[in-house]
Amino acid sequence: MLFAAALAFIFDPANLLGEKGILPRLMDHLLYTGLSLGVALLVGIPIGLIIGHTGKGKNFVIALTGSFRAIPTFGLLLFIILFTGLGLGPLVFVLAILAIPPIIAGAYSGLDAVNRETIDAARAIGMTEWQILGKVEIPLALPLILGGIRSATLQIIATATIAGYVGLTGLGRFLIEGLALHDYTLAFAGAILVAALALVADGILALIQRLVVPHGVSRGMARTTTRSGRRTAPPALTGTPITEG
């Protein structure tokens, strides 16, 4: 059977190391993911926090998240490579583009959900805007901010399979090689590996997300999130892992 054969491939120690082994490709996959996520965080978090804190540019967030989702990542990657040539840079760039919208949306909606009265009180007792952001808004918004990061991470992991098409490696190579050689066991093994990585990453991030819920909020309910009533990541932000390639 295909599934059993794919599992047999994955757990065969002979396939673990070596140039085309699972481990080096997994490490590469994680490298691409980490770099892209880092870039996306550097860009997305400040934008999301600024919009969430000031309340200005809400429409921009909605338009951005909507339109960016429609960008075909692979198409964009090929387009950029036409100008830059193959390399890690273009890949990280397009994956970051993919990940920025959910990160902005998470940061923005997290801050937006913090009770206005709490913020007003913080200002009225004499906190500066930076103190309000750092000591009130971010701690209270952290679960939703992480929800956005979690969603972004999953999308990057799934989409980083395209690295295999542009001269890089990663877990996507198994899919590409498998399809090219009509070795569907290999392709299926690749798909399983990507899905498993996504699940593990999602599990770890879900755990962290639970841990950062501030004390006092987790016990009491409702005082931080009057507007939307949401306390965990909204479903729209937690993307399901899709295995492209």
């Binding site: 007792i125 906190m127 009130v136 701690p139 501030p214």
Partner: protein
């Protein structure tokens, strides 16, 4: 002393919340701004700590125009208590109370020690210090809010309907507590409420406001009750509806020292000291005898 000089505030949407308002609030007194929703009373209050800046006119604290002060610095030396306590939900009670001193760089140890004392001051058990706000009752949260307001030992305490969201029994409790506190501390308190009974109970001076923060009447509770300047005031304080026009109900057997008072609709409203059936004149503490404070001025009736 807080002084409003010809202050107006027009919001971005065009609403004229405050229209040419002038008032002097004396030090160490409780002044209550009272009026219906939308009369601009909260806007007035929030102008004192520059949460709202006036469109025109000026506000002075001890003869210093606050427009020239840095808002954050100004706010840190003014206590602020709001309706739903406004506590930081992710911080323990002790940290909430100590918030401003810690921001001001007071060593943690000292700030905590002071916060503990403040819990005593507002009548909270010290064992609550490590709870989170959500683990407290509404009344307890308000007490923490008051403690936080007092943390930097401010001269001025701004209170924006602080007891509006708690049940009547707890509210009465908190009101008495505030009266006691004020006797001890002698702050300049500016208190905003829509509840005229609360205003008369707490205020050394009461300012009744109409739309646009127009002063309908200003004076001590007795002055206002004795001489409502117009029908608006009379209605607002209840005289117009007969609620405060009390008379002795002769049909009730008295115990010899008290007489039952009824309002103009015949509902029992309180009792008055009447040793031997003669109403005592000029009793200095009529509050203690009343069912509710609406009979505060029973001696005048």
């Amino acid at each position: 002393m807080i002084e409003f000089r010809g202050v107006s505030k027009q919001f971005d949407d065009g609403t004229l919340a405050v229209d040419d308002f002038s008032l002097v609030i004396p030090s160490h007194k409780t002044v209550v701004l009272v009026g219906s929703s939308g009369c601009g009373k909260t806007t007035l209050l929030r102008m004192i700590n520059r949460m709202v800046d006036p469109t025109s006119g000026s506000i002075l604290i001890d003869d210093e125009d606050i427009a020239g002060l840095e808002p954050v610095k100004l706010r840190r030396r003014i206590g602020y208590v709001m309706q739903n306590s406004g506590l930081l939900p992710h911080r323990k009670v002790i940290d909430n109370v100590a918030t401003v001193p810690l921001l001001e760089g007071v060593p943690k140890r000292d700030a905590y020690a002071r916060a503990m004392e403040l819990l005593d001051t507002v009548g909270l058990d010290r064992s609550l210090a490590n709870r989170y706000p959500s683990q407290l009752s509404g009344g307890q949260q308000q007490r923490v809010g008051v403690a936080r307001g007092l943390a930097v030992d401010p001269n001025i305490l701004l209170m924006d309907e602080p007891f509006g969201a708690v049940d009547p029994i707890v509210r009465a409790d908190l009101q008495q507590e505030l009266i006691r506190l004020q006797q001890e501390l002698g702050k300049t308190i500016v208190f905003v409420t829509h509840d005229i009974d609360e205003a008369f109970l707490l205020g050394d001076e009461v300012v009744i406001l109409q739309v646009g923060a127009q002063i309908a009447q200003q004076g001590t509770p007795s002055e206002i009750l004795a001489n409502p300047t117009n029908e608006f005031v009379a209605n607002f304080i209840g005289v117009g509806r007969g609620k405060r026009r009390l008379s002795v109900d002769g049909s009730v057997e008295s115990n010899g020292n008290d007489l039952v008072l009824v309002d103009s609709a015949g509902h029992a409203a309180g009792v008055v000291d009447a040793p031997g059936g003669v109403i005592a004149n000029g009793d200095s503490s009529p509050k203690s005898r009343s069912i509710s404070n609406k009979t505060d001025q029973a001696g005048d009736a």
